[in-house]
């Protein structure tokens, strides 16, 4: 199994480790529920080194990225990050990514499970172009700091102007003595927070410095278990569950990641989808049961199977069981009464607004 630069830190804390797409990753340090609460109320630190990163450089880099990703990189301000998708020619989702536009490069954050396939996707789109596509996933540390106290934890360690760094903006700054860290105000939890990208070798030192700085703010390391609950409460889709090769961006309700006036693989197919309209849609639901609706369970309407659950969890923040899934549009309106088949038992589930949780700003 592959190890991240922070692997030893997790073992020392006796984290519960799992195989996550070939990486030996912490799923939980103490308790998923406690880790979710810590992130919502205080601050959490996440090892995200398993996530993939692609860097595209060279004179034609933005032409390459514009064809490879549904969000038009040329319309993204330098110093901003934007959500986009890698699509098949059929307009279905190969991955969801974050684009970071810099003066001399485009930095792309991709999902762990898709590292190789996404790298090939960019290479294919760079053929014959004056651009260089590099998979830098194993050369970097990626750490997230999430939660209301994030800025207070980070501020003493950096020369960056955090107050001036807006949501979905990034900068290059020194953090814990490491120069030119890519520091962005982004995250996958629905909280304020930051994501940091820098060299693999400096990983443990920065991790420890952040934990030390966070001590007075009640920081805790957060495992993948709580990360999944946090993103689900924020109704953020996860590749492999809400997003797959069978689903298009409009069904998944991530049309904000598509620049229809741009020029990208899958655009023709999406024009047809727009014209014909979608037949099924991603929904959020609350389930009235002690048992948790889980990935792959059937969703029923009027006793008939109409869809499936893509993700489900107990939400410690809402103190309810919540989930997302796909159903035909006629069953997707807010308030629609559905059922989920939990191991042969049908539990009531009502369609609700997403996100399930939204922080106060």
């Amino acid at each position: 199994m592959k190890k991240t630069p922070l692997h030893e830190e997790h073992l020392r804390r006796k984290a519960r480790m799992i195989d996550f797409f070939g990486f030996h990753m912490p799923v939980m340090y103490t308790s998923i529920i406690e880790e979710v609460k810590c992130t919502r109320a205080r601050v959490g630190i996440f090892d995200l080194c398993h996530m993939g990163r692609i860097v595209v450089t060279g004179p034609e880099r933005e032409d390459v990225v514009r064809r490879a990703v549904s969000k038009n990189v040329k319309k993204v301000p330098v110093g901003a990050a934007r959500y986009g998708l890698l699509l098949t020619p059929e307009g279905t989702v190969k991955d969801d990514v974050l684009l970071y536009r810099e003066e001399d490069r485009v930095h792309v954050v991709i999902n762990c499970a898709n590292r190789e396939r996404d790298h090939r996707h960019f290479l294919e789109h760079a053929e014959g172009c004056d651009a260089v596509v590099r998979n830098v996933s194993d050369e970097q540390t990626m750490i997230a700091l999430q939660g209301p106290a994030s800025a207070r934890v980070l501020a003493p360690l950096t020369d960056a102007d955090l107050d001036g760094l807006g949501y979905y903006r990034f900068t290059r700054a020194e953090v814990a003595g490491v120069p030119r860290v890519l520091l962005s105000r982004t995250g996958y939890t629905g909280e304020d927070g930051f994501e940091l990208f820098f060299g693999a070798a400096e990983g443990p030192a920065v991790w420890r410095a952040l934990l030390e700085s966070g001590e007075e703010h009640g920081i805790s390391p957060i495992g993948l278990g709580a990360r999944d609950v946090l993103r689900l409460e924020a109704a953020m889709p996860l590749y492999g569950q809400e997003l797959t090769l069978e689903i298009n961006p409009f069904e998944a309700d991530v049309g904000f990641g598509v620049s229809m006036k741009s020029e990208f693989t899958g655009r023709e197919a999406l024009l047809r989808v727009k014209e014909e309209g979608i037949r099924r849609k991603r929904i959020g639901f609350e389930a009235e049961s002690r048992r948790i609706p889980r990935t792959g369970m059937d969703i029923l309407a009027g006793g008939e199977k109409v869809g499936w659950v893509t993700s489900g969890t107990y939400s410690p923040t809402l103190e309810k069981n919540i989930g997302m899934g796909y159903v035909p549009v006629e069953h997707a309106e807010i308030g629609a009464a559905l059922e989920v088949d939990v191991k042969g038992k049908r539990i009531p589930a009502a369609v609700v607004e997403m996100p399930f949780y939204k922080r106060e700003r």
């Binding site: 073992l11 480790m17 799923v27 308790s31 529920i33 048992r291 948790i292 107990y314």
Partner: protein
């Protein structure tokens, strides 16, 4: 984690306290800690038949649903009905208030196939060593 030596165990982290041909069953502290964040327990019904090594209950946590395997064969005589509403009993006191079911044993000789506290401690040591890699 202390392992009470007044009862027997299975490799799959169930405990059994045998009183005559009645087996009080539950899951061990290790199992509870491994699951963490309990949300539900699905107990068998009274008069259900259990078969040693086959699932007879489920414990659900935020992370996953885990089968509980019957440590002995027999008939369920009593269940800890209060547990569903008091999951803390299972989380805090798995060897006491957190018992799951009492099984009237069909084959009392099955007791010999169960692990002693000492043997179960070895199972835990092996799991711990594995968890570190």
């Amino acid at each position: 984690m202390p392992v009470p030596d007044d009862r027997k165990y299975t490799k799959s982290h169930e405990w059994v306290k045998i009183e005559g041909d009645l087996a009080v069953t539950g899951i061990t502290e290790f199992a509870v800690k491994a699951l963490a964040d309990l949300v539900y327990v699905d107990l068998p019904e009274i008069a259900d038949l259990t078969e040693k090594g086959h699932p007879f209950a489920e414990v659900e946590s935020v992370k996953a649903v885990a089968d509980v395997y019957a440590p002995v064969s027999g008939e369920v005589e009593e269940i800890n009905e209060d547990l569903v509403d008091h999951l803390d009993d299972l989380a805090q006191d798995p060897y006491g208030k957190g018992w799951l079911a009492k099984i009237r044993m069909s084959y009392p000789e099955e007791e010999k196939e169960l692990l002693s506290a000492e043997e179960y401690e070895e199972v835990l040591a092996a799991e711990e060593a594995e968890g570190a890699h």
